[in-house]
């Protein structure tokens, strides 16, 4: 049964019609055209689809629309401000911290959540914060360096 939902994504309110158990992932990608959040496993185990829901990383593939409605949702496209990339994204470019880049969006989301609550993380803090995200190409160490670099640039 299709219902109407109001979603607040990256500060913008949108309305869409879908069944209430539709995963947030498909509303973001197909209804709102935000393709940066990616499908990986459909069960919240790989982190490729992470978005911030009220500031906390959560799998969009495993979050039904009824649970997302009314919350503050941030996707990778909304991490930066005023059309600028987020410092994390700059740091990922500087460190060339990706190979295929498919897991990158979800990892940026986890990293952004970490820096929001812990602006000066240690390396093991970063690794622990990214443990819910899988990377298959082996870019882990570059990504950890990039998160530490961004932390230093935001709060030197």
């Amino acid at each position: 049964m299709a219902e109407r939902f109001q979603l607040t994504v990256n500060g913008v309110e949108s309305e869409l019609e879908a069944s209430s158990d539709t995963a947030l992932l498909y509303a973001l990608r197909n209804d709102l055209g935000l393709k940066g959040t990616r499908f990986g496993c459909g069960s919240g185990q790989c982190g490729a689809c992470f978005v911030l829901i009220d500031g906390y990383p959560a799998p969009a593939c495993d979050t039904p629309l009824w649970a997302a409605a009314g919350k503050r949702i941030t996707t990778v496209e909304g991490l930066g401000k005023g059309g600028e990339l987020h410092p994390l994204q700059h740091a990922f470019l500087t460190e060339q911290a990706a190979q295929c880049g498919y897991c990158t969006s979800g990892i940026l989301i986890s990293a952004a959540a970490l820096l929001a609550r812990n602006p000066r993380p240690t390396e093991s803090d970063v690794r622990a914060a990214l443990d819910r995200n899988l990377c298959r190409c082996g870019s882990h160490n570059r990504m950890v360096r990039a998160v530490l670099r961004a932390a230093f640039e935001i709060a030197p």
Binding site: L85, L93, R127
Partner: protein
Amino acid sequence: MNTVAETPLKRLGSLEKNPKLAQWLRVHRDGTVSIFSGKVEIGQGIATALAQIAAEELGITPERIRMVAADTAVSPDEGVTSGSLSIQDSGAALRRACAQARTLLLKSAAARLGVSVRDLQAADGTVRTADRSTSFWECADDALFDCRVDETAALKSPRDYQVVGKPAPRRDLPDKIAGRPRFIQDITLPGMLYGRMVRPPYNFAGPVSLDDSKVKSMPGLAAIVRDGGFLGVLAEREDVAISAQRALRATASWREVDALPRDVHAWLKEHAAEHRVISEKENADAKSRAAKVLEASYTKPYISHASIGPSCAIARIDDGKLMVWSHSQGIFNLRRDLALALGMREDAIVVRHAEGAGCYGHNGADDAALDAALLARAAGGRPVQVQWMRDDEFAWAPCGPAMALSLRAALDSHGDIVDWEHELWSNGHSSRPGRADNPALLAAWHLSRAYERPSAINMPLPAGAADRNAIPIYDFPNQRVVNHYVHEMPVRTSALRSLGAYANVFAIESFMDELAQAAGSDPIAFRQRHLKDPRGRAVIDAAARRAEWSHWKPAEGRGHGIGFARYKNLGAYCAAVAEVEVGHDVRVNRLILAVDVGLVINPDGVITQIEGGAIQSTSWTLREQVRLGARGIASLGWEDYPILKFSEVPVVEVELLDRPELPAVGAGEAAQGPAAAAIANAVAHALGLRVRDLPLTHERIAVAISQST
């Protein structure tokens, strides 16, 4: 400018098939150059490295290069992007094509200015005499490149390189890091329908039986497509396609075939169909000095590609023409097998490459393309996107083959190896499309007019497949290497990064340590004593030096180990030192790798590939095995197939030995075998006993301990 007459390569495969200069590049009036390569970006950074090569020979900045996505309608056919061959194949071809193009452009500029080429100065495409100028862009004329590529064209000397050999940022990363649409999964075409496949996670035959009465009435469902055992759904919305898939799967049933063997390695040994001696050396005198004989058996399980993004494809059939978007590694081969499976002419099909998630070999990409084409036949001309779900990928993408290996060697009284035997049992390591009489595409085996599934084959030596790196690089007076090929295939297998080299190097290098121990030698000194190849000796020395091998401080539960190989015995040299800690599980603290890839095109690219290869190999070696149930593959999600996590990843240090005078070779598959062996040897060093069955899990170690007491 210095030029070099580089020794012509024995086989410039890509130029043989695509001899025309115009097939490789086009110069535009807007100051850019389109580069056509048949090699595709799969997360390894090839587009960046090829752009560097092209820019270097043309003498222009890389920003002027446009890398054209591979497309059967416009690109040279360069076969498959695999085997760490893209730099060798496409890079070598582009290097020559662009060198020749520059010469032609300079000639054209000279004619335009009415001077001789000698009087010209060229910089970034602008061509000057003392008082006048023109440019490559003004000289752009398609007729100029209507000629054959001259393989003897003078090439720029590596001493004059400005772009090649310097780190270059990846061209595709700005999109990927910003979260912009870039992947095949992100493509949305007007009117596109969403498709999902309905398959059970086990081998089956014959038609599917199902009750689709409830699913038929789902709002937004566009079609249920059924042909023999093939079953898929199309819907207006992706979430509806998924719901329909789930609902159909709950009611569908297929006839099961082929129960899986319980002990795969024993089964492989019982089912070998061909036994080929691939290397034999005899020296009776040396053999007679044998004083001590050692034997050991090693195993490797089936390994999954386990890419983070499952396979995806888009297809549209319009007016009898099929257009396919795919993240296939071989778009021309895919087109051939699509034509076979669909009963179409190849020239009625265009396959265009679109980037997918990381690709480490023959995954489900090609299969998804046929799935999309079959569903597109029911879509009335609308485009169809098929996305495999996580369990589709684990259950149906080919696995890297399981292997069993037995090694035997004899030492003389000085502790030198005088005899060496290596036997391996494995399925073939390639069942890629484009090679067999039948289509090597999953759905083709399930249609009502079903094709028989082709068995995986092995490519011939010297590169080899199951036997890749089975012939030792060391100098032994007697040796015998046997490849036992298993034709029958309980689990679908095909190419996974480094093919047999991973298991062969793991076994050879583990056994070298066992022999070194029996000979009372240091593992590095023992290797150097048996190795003549100076490039091999150099990487071993470099890794040992960087790791401070000789200053190792023993500690409870800690160990270090070395592994070494030259990939395919033809490509990159790599030595790895691992430092591990064994508690409940094995933890690799540090991996040090020294690498020689000849001329380095993009140092940062090579380091990334080696780091990534080493980390992926650490994951394979410590964690990974596809679990088999009685019915089929039982690893269907990440909980059944754990891979290394951020907190478990070792520190990785890479040292590049630059050899600008030597041909450039690929780096993507050099580290896997050496890293695995280094870890296994370090674990043996830490424990004082050897684990010979991969992966090196807590359970395996416990078994090895119980067997040793």
